[in-house]
Point group: C2
Chain length 106, copies 2
DNA sequence: TTGACATGTGACCATTTGGTCACCTATCGT
DNA sequence: ACGATAGGTGACCAAATGGTCACATGTCAA
């Protein structure tokens, strides 16, 4: 399994994306705190966090019996750079802004 | 299935990422041309292209009996914007440049 | 030191996914 | 018209994935 395979497989699950959303809002949470936000057992949450950690999307630090989780944005940025050409980036941004405007109006 | 679920599931497979790489290099290819680059049957390739199209990562245009495929960068950009904070973006870019330098040296 | 708490492991099962095939429709060039 | 070419559908099977549980380890606080 390659590095980028791990990243994309990790992002493929909605629960794991939700965990990243939680950490994007506030970093440094424990497993127990994150698990309380999910609709599944602690074991399910732990399995998902492990996948995120192996993909390097989440980095952790131990503090006594607690394990703190932090979001790492680097792999996300690498996805962007893989398929967004520097020269078309401005164009893509303009399209996104147009889309946002249209959705605001509707 | 939500829009972003389709996008991430589509990106989860290495063959589909390779198809995006091919289209990133050169747009407007037919199914037959893309299939010739893969190690699988035409049906496999077609199934993958269909998934990419339903995720809006690839858009198509018919021309006679041929179907031309184009890369659409918008969903990729949306992934980036979901977890990369405008304020930390510069920092992340710096980290990536550092990483690239280290890999060049090794 | 003892009980409660935070985290970790391996086995297990239901569902989803990747890939192939037989067969079909539509369009091109002669 | 007709063979060759480009693309499309539904069924099918092996392998991977999401989730749970019984059980285990390490750490805190009184």
């Amino acid at each position: 399994m390659t590095d980028d395979d791990r990243v994309f497989k990790a992002l493929a699950d909605p629960t794991r994306r939700f965990l990243l959303d939680l950490l994007f809002m506030r970093d440094g949470r424990t497993l127990t705190e994150l698990e309380s936000e999910l609709e599944m057992s602690r074991f399910g949450a732990m399995k998902h966090l492990r996948v995120l950690e192996e993909a390097n999307l989440v980095v952790t630090r131990r503090s006594g019996r607690e394990k703190l989780h932090f979001l790492n944005p680097v792999p996300i940025r690498e996805i962007h750079d893989r398929w967004i050409d520097k020269y078309t980036e401005l164009h893509t941004t303009a399209l996104l802004e147009l889309k946002a405007e249209l959705e605001d109006e509707s």
